[in-house]
Symmetry: C2
Subunit: 620 residues, 2 copies
C-alpha cells in the first residue's frame, strides 16, 4: 500500500484507491489551505514534493496542487506552514469517525411465515367433511389453531388440496406475540420465490430491501427521497399540511406510490410485486401516522399523544399498496417522538440484550436517545431543531453535491481547508460541515466559549455583516454562490442550541436512572448523519459526551436493519414489541432538570468544563 508522509509531521498515512494528497490530508486531519472544496480552482492547496513519484498538477517548482495530485509510490511531501512558531504547539485535529458496528443478519430460525407441509387423508364417502375442516385439522396437528383465512385463500383450498392428492403446503403467518394465525396461502407446489420486503420510511429518505424469506439473503435494494418532501421539509410542516382537506390522504398516497416503485426496483428480475409475502416497516412516529393516515396533529399538541404506537397486522391491499397483497407488520413506536425506527434500532443493535450501558443516539431534526442495557431502557426525544440538517443556518443546505462537509481552520492563519461533497465548488454547509466548522472555529480560538466571534482579531475572514458578525468560510470567487459563504453568530447560536438540546437530553436521561455520563460504556450512533460525524469535533463542541473514543460506534441504518430482522425472525419482532412497551419514556419538556441542563450546555463545550476533561480550551 502506498503511503504518504506530510512533513513536518512524522506519521505515514495509507493512500486508498483514487485518493489525492488532499484527500489523505483531510482524512489525517492535516491542515492544507483550500477554499474551493477540492474542486481545484483555488490553487491554494500547494504541497512540496520531497521524495517519491506522483502524477499531478505542478504549481511551481516542486510544488504540486494537493487536490489534483495522486501518489504513485510512497511519497514524502512538505506542507507549507505559514506561521509555525513552535511545532510543539501546533494544533492538529485528530479525525475520528466512529467504528462501524456490523448488524449481522439472523438465520431465519423462526420466520413469521411458517411453511407447513400437510399430508391430509383423502376424503371418503364415510368421512367427507369439508376441505376447510380437513385443512384446519391438519394445521391443528402441527400446532396451528384457529387460523384466520381470508376469502381469497379459502377459495383456493379445494384446488390446492386436489392437485396432489391432498398434499399441500400451507403458509401461516403467526402474529408475533399473539396467538393469532393467518393462513396467507395454500399451494401444492412450494412458493418460489418466497419474498419479504423491509422498508424504512425516513422523513427525508426511503429505503427498501428485498429479502429471501427462506435463506435470509438480501436480493435487492432501492432508495429515494421521501416524496412528501414537496409538501413540507420536516415533520412539523407535514403535520400542518394534514390540516388541509385531504392533506393526509395526499401525503399517504404519494408515499405509498413511491414505495411500490421502490419495491419494484429492488425486486428487479427476482420476483413480481404479488410475490411479496411479508412486509416489515419501520418509521418514526409521525411517518408511521402519515403512512397509515392516522391523524398526526395530536403528536405535536400538548400533551403529545399518538393515535397509536402499536399496530395491527394489515394486508397490504388494505393499506393501499396497489398490486401487493402481503401481510404487513409495522414496528411499534414508543411515543410521539420516539418511533418504530428507534425501537427497531435498539433491537437491531442488541443493546437491550447486552450488559454494557449503552447510549443510542439517532441525530436528525430530533435527537432520539435511548440509554440502557439488558436490564433497563429509558428513552427521550430532544428537539434539536433543523440545524444539523442545515436548517436555520444562513448558508445551510442538505448533504448533496457542493455541500461543505468538512472544514479545518489553521489556528495561525485562520485560513480554512474546505472539502465538499463531490469535490466541486462550495454551495453551502451541510450538517457535518457545520459541526466541523463550529469545532474548528472554537479550536482555532476564533470564537469564545459562548460562541461569540472574537471581534478583536483582525482578519479579512472576520467581519461584521448585515446580520452581525460572521466568519467567511469561502469567498464568492471560490464558490458557486453569488455571495460569500459565511457562518454568522446567529448560525453559531443555532448550532449551540441544537447541540445543547442533545447533550442536556443525554445528561438528564442518564442521570434519571442514577448514572453519570462517564458510566456510559458504549455510544451507538444511528442514522446516516451519525456516519459523517467526526467524533472529535462532536465532543469538542459538547454535542457528544467526552468519553474514550473507542466507545463510539456507527451503526448505519438501524431502522432498516430492524425491519429486516422482523421479516426473518418472529422472535425479533416480539422483542421489538417488548422494547416498545417496556422502555421508559421521558418527556424532556416536562422534566424539571432538563431546562437547567440545557442552559448549562449552551457553552462550548459546556459550562462545566470538568465534563470535558480531554477538550483543551484554546486560550490563544
Amino acid at each position: 500500500m502506498t503511503k504518504v508522509k506530510f512533513l513536518p509531521f512524522d506519521e505515514e498515512y495509507e493512500v486508498f484507491e483514487g485518493e489525492t494528497l488532499f484527500d489523505v490530508a483531510l482524512r489525517a486531519g492535516i491542515h492544507i489551505n483550500a477554499s474551493c472544496g477540492g474542486a481545484g480552482s483555488c490553487k491554494r492547496c500547494k504541497v512540496r514534493l520531497i521524495s517519491g513519484e506522483v502524477k499531478g498538477e505542478i504549481l511551481e517548482g516542486q510544488y504540486y496542487k494537493a487536490c489534483a495530485t495522486y501518489p504513485l509510490t510512497d511519497v514524502v511531501v512538505e506542507v507549507p506552514l505559514v506561521a509555525i512558531l513552535d511545532k510543539t504547539t501546533l494544533y492538529r485535529t485528530v479525525k475520528r469517525r466512529a467504528k462501524s458496528l456490523e448488524i449481522s443478519g439472523v438465520e431465519p430460525i423462526f420466520p413469521p411465515i411458517r411453511e407447513v407441509f400437510l399430508k391430509l387423508k383423502e376424503p371418503t364417502i364415510e368421512e367427507n367433511t369439508s376441505d376447510l375442516t380437513r385443512l384446519k385439522d391438519g394445521l391443528a396437528k402441527q400446532g396451528i389453531s384457529e387460523p384466520e383465512i381470508p376469502l381469497e385463500v379459502l377459495r383456493k383450498v379445494p384446488y390446492a388440496l386436489r392437485q396432489k392428492n391432498f398434499e399441500a403446503g400451507a403458509y401461516v403467518y403467526q402474529n408475533p406475540g399473539t396467538s393469532k394465525n393467518y393462513l396467507i396461502d395454500i399451494t401444492a407446489e412450494p412458493i418460489d420465490p418466497f419474498l419479504g420486503v423491509a422498508i424504512d420510511i425516513g422523513t427525508t429518505t426511503l429505503q427498501v430491501e428485498v429479502v429471501d424469506l427462506r435463506k435470509g439473503e438480501t436480493l435487492g435494494f432501492a432508495s429515494d427521497y421521501n416524496p412528501q418532501i414537496k409538501y413540507g421539509d420536516d415533520v412539523i410542516t407535514r403535520i400542518e399540511f394534514c390540516k388541509k382537506k385531504e392533506g393526509i390522504e395526499i401525503l399517504s398516497k404519494v408515499l405509498k406510490e413511491k414505495l411500490v416503485l421502490l419495491i419494484k426496483e429492488a425486486l428487479g428480475a427476482k420476483g413480481r410485486l404479488e410475490e411479496v409475502r411479508l412486509i416489515s416497516l419501520a418509521a418514526n412516529t409521525v411517518m408511521t401516522h402519515l403512512f397509515l393516515e392516522l391523524e398526526p396533529r395530536y403528536l405535536r399538541e400538548y400533551p403529545y399523544v399518538p393515535a397509536a404506537t402499536e399496530f395491527p397486522v394489515f394486508r397490504a391491499k388494505d393499506l393501499g399498496f396497489k398490486g401487493v397483497d402481503s401481510i404487513s407488520q409495522i414496528i411499534p413506536c414508543k411515543a410521539s417522538y420516539v418511533g418504530g425506527d428507534i425501537v427497531a434500532g435498539v433491537v437491531a443493535s442488541k443493546m437491550c440484550e447486552e450488559a454494557p450501558i449503552t447510549l443510542f443516539i439517532d441525530l436528525g431534526t430530533n435527537g432520539e436517545l435511548v440509554v440502557g442495557n439488558q436490564d433497563f431502557l429509558v428513552c427521550a426525544a430532544c428537539s434539536a431543531g433543523p440545524a444539523f440538517e442545515g436548517g436555520g443556518i444562513k448558508h445551510g443546505m442538505r448533504a448533496t453535491l457542493g455541500a461543505i462537509e468538512s472544514v479545518s481552520i489553521d489556528p495561525y492563519t485562520y485560513e480554512p481547508m474546505v472539502a465538499t461533497i463531490g469535490k466541486v465548488k462550495p454551495l453551502g454547509l451541510c450538517g457535518s460541515g457545520i459541526l466541523s466548522l463550529l469545532a474548528s472555529l472554537f479550536r482555532a480560538g476564533l470564537i469564545d466559549k459562548s460562541g461569540k466571534i472574537k471581534k478583536d482579531l483582525s482578519h479579512p475572514r472576520i467581519r461584521e455583516g448585515a446580520e452581525g458578525w460572521e466568519y467567511v468560510v469561502v469567498f464568492k470567487e471560490e464558490a458557486q454562490t453569488d455571495v460569500d459563504i459565511v457562518f454568522t453568530e446567529a448560525d453559531i447560536d443555532n448550532v449551540i442550541r441544537a447541540k445543547a438540546a442533545i447533550f442536556a437530553g443525554c445528561q438528564v436521561l442518564v442521570e434519571s436512572v442514577g448514572l453519570y455520563l462517564k458510566d456510559i460504556e458504549k455510544v451507538y450512533l444511528a442514522g446516516t448523519f451519525g456516519n459523517y460525524i467526526d467524533i472529535e469535533d462532536a465532543i469538542s463542541i459538547g454535542l457528544l459526551p467526552d468519553l474514550e473514543r473507542d466507545r463510539f460506534f456507527f451503526l448505519g441504518n438501524t431502522s432498516l436493519a430492524g425491519a429486516r430482522l422482523a421479516l426473518l425472525s418472529q422472535e425479533r419482532f416480539v422483542k421489538m414489541k417488548e422494547v416498545a412497551k417496556g422502555m421508559t419514556h421521558f418527556e424532556l419538556s416536562n422534566h424539571p432538570g432538563y431546562m437547567d441542563a440545557y442552559v448549562a450546555a449552551l457553552f462550548l463545550p459546556h459550562t462545566d468544563e470538568s465534563l470535558f476533561p480531554t477538550i483543551k480550551i484554546n486560550s490563544i
Copy 2:
C-alpha cells in the same frame, strides 16, 4: 262469527273474512264439483241455499254458484250429491293444514355486537400513552381483550375520544364461540339507528329482514326471486354453469347486487346501507358456496365434499356487498346437502333443546331431514327430484298465479274440485296441487297402490294419451291452456319416486338411531312448501309418516328465523355452530338400508300397510 253447514253433513264451519262458500267447502274438505279453479267460469259449483242470507250469483232457483257467493248470516246449504248410495260410505276428505309453530324473537340479551361505554382518563404530560393503548386498556377493563381494529376504525379513534373528553361508545363484535373481538366502531354519540340484517338465500327466493339490534324489533322486510334462476333453475344446473369461465363470479355478483337492492328496500326510510352493522346469512350449502364464490363442483361429485362448512367472519365489503360495511356472519353448514338453512332451522325451532323426539323436514328439490332432540341429532338429505316444485311433471309449474293448488275428486262421479292460486282459470299444477291430486286419485280409487290408472273405469277423464294413460284434471275449455291439463302415469310415477325418497329417508334416519317412525313425537315442516301441504294428503300417499295429526307443525321460513336469531343473540349463533358440528350426518346414498326402504316406499301409501294404519285403502 258466521257459520256454514253443508248438508248432508252435520258439522258447521266458520267463515273467515272474504271467503266464498267454495272457499269454506275447500277448507272443510267438502267436495263441490269445480274445474275452473274458482274463477267462476265453469258454473258447476252449484249449492242449494236452505236457510240464511247470502250475497251471490244465482244459477237457478235456490241454487247459487258457490265460488261467487258470500254468506251474510249463518247459512245452511245443500251440496248436490249425484250418487250417494249410502251416506255412511261417503268418502270425505279431512283437510288438515299443520298448526303453525310461532318462532318467537329473542330478547337481545347478548347481541354479537356489544355497546361498551367508555369513560377514559384524559391524557396528561405524565401519562401520554397513545389513544389506542388508552382505548384498549378501557376495553380490557370491561373484559374485551386484544380486539382487532380495522384501519378505518383506528383512524376514527383520535376524533371520537376527543369529542367528549375521552368518553365514547365502543362497538365490539365478539366472534361467537371464539375469543376474537373486533372493534367495529367508536363514536362519541351512540350509533342510531343500530341496524342488523338477516338474509335467507333460497335456491328460488331471497328474503331479507331489517332488525333493530337494540330492541330486537323487525323494521322492514323484502323478498324476491333469486336472480341466479336465469342461469339455472336448480342447484345442479347452477353448479354446471360455474364450470364456465367466470361462471361463479357472475352467479355471485347478480346475487349480491340483488341482495343489496333488497336490503335497501327493507331499510326503507329506517336507515342507510352504511348504517347496517351486522349481517347474518343462512343458505343451503350450494347457495352458500355460490355466495362466497367457493368452488361448488365437489359438492355434487363423489364423495360430496364441501369446500367449507364453517365460515370466518367477513367484512361485507370483502364479500363484495357494495356500499355495506358491516360484519357478516354466515350460519355454518353441515354437509353438501344439509346447509346453514337447516342448521338455522334446527336452532330456531328449539328441537335441539327440548325433550320430544322431533322430525324436522324441509321439503324442496331436496328433502332435508333432521331427527333428534336435546340429546342427539341426526340428519340426511334425500334427493326427491323436482316433482314437488312442479318439475318433471307434464303440466307442472311454480306456485304462482293460475297454479292448481288443491284438487279433490268425487269418488262416485270422478269429477274434480279444483282450486287455483289467485282463483283464476287453471294454468298447471304446483307442488301442493300435485300432492293433493295424487292423494285424491288414490282416495277415489282411480289409481291403484302402484300408481297405475285403473284403465277399466270408463270415464271421459280417464283416457290413453300420447304419453300413456292419464287423468284429465281440467279440460282446455275451462283452462288458460290450449290443451287439456292432464296428470299422466309418468307424472304419478315421478311423484311416487319423490315421496318414496323422502319417506325412506325419514325411516332410515329414525331407525339408524334405534327408533321407529311411531316414536316421533313432533314433525316440524319447514319452508314455504311445508305450509301448503295438506297433512292428510301427504300421509295418505305415504310422503309423511302416519302419526297423530296434532304432532305436525308448520314452522315457516326457519332459515330466515335462524339468521335473525344469530343477529340478536351470540349464544344462539354459538348454538348453531355446535349443532353444525355435533349433528351426525348420514350419506343416504351410501346407507345399506336406504335402497330397500326406498323400493318398499314406491307404493301408495307403502308396501307395508301396517306403517299407515289410519289410511283406508279404497277398494271400490
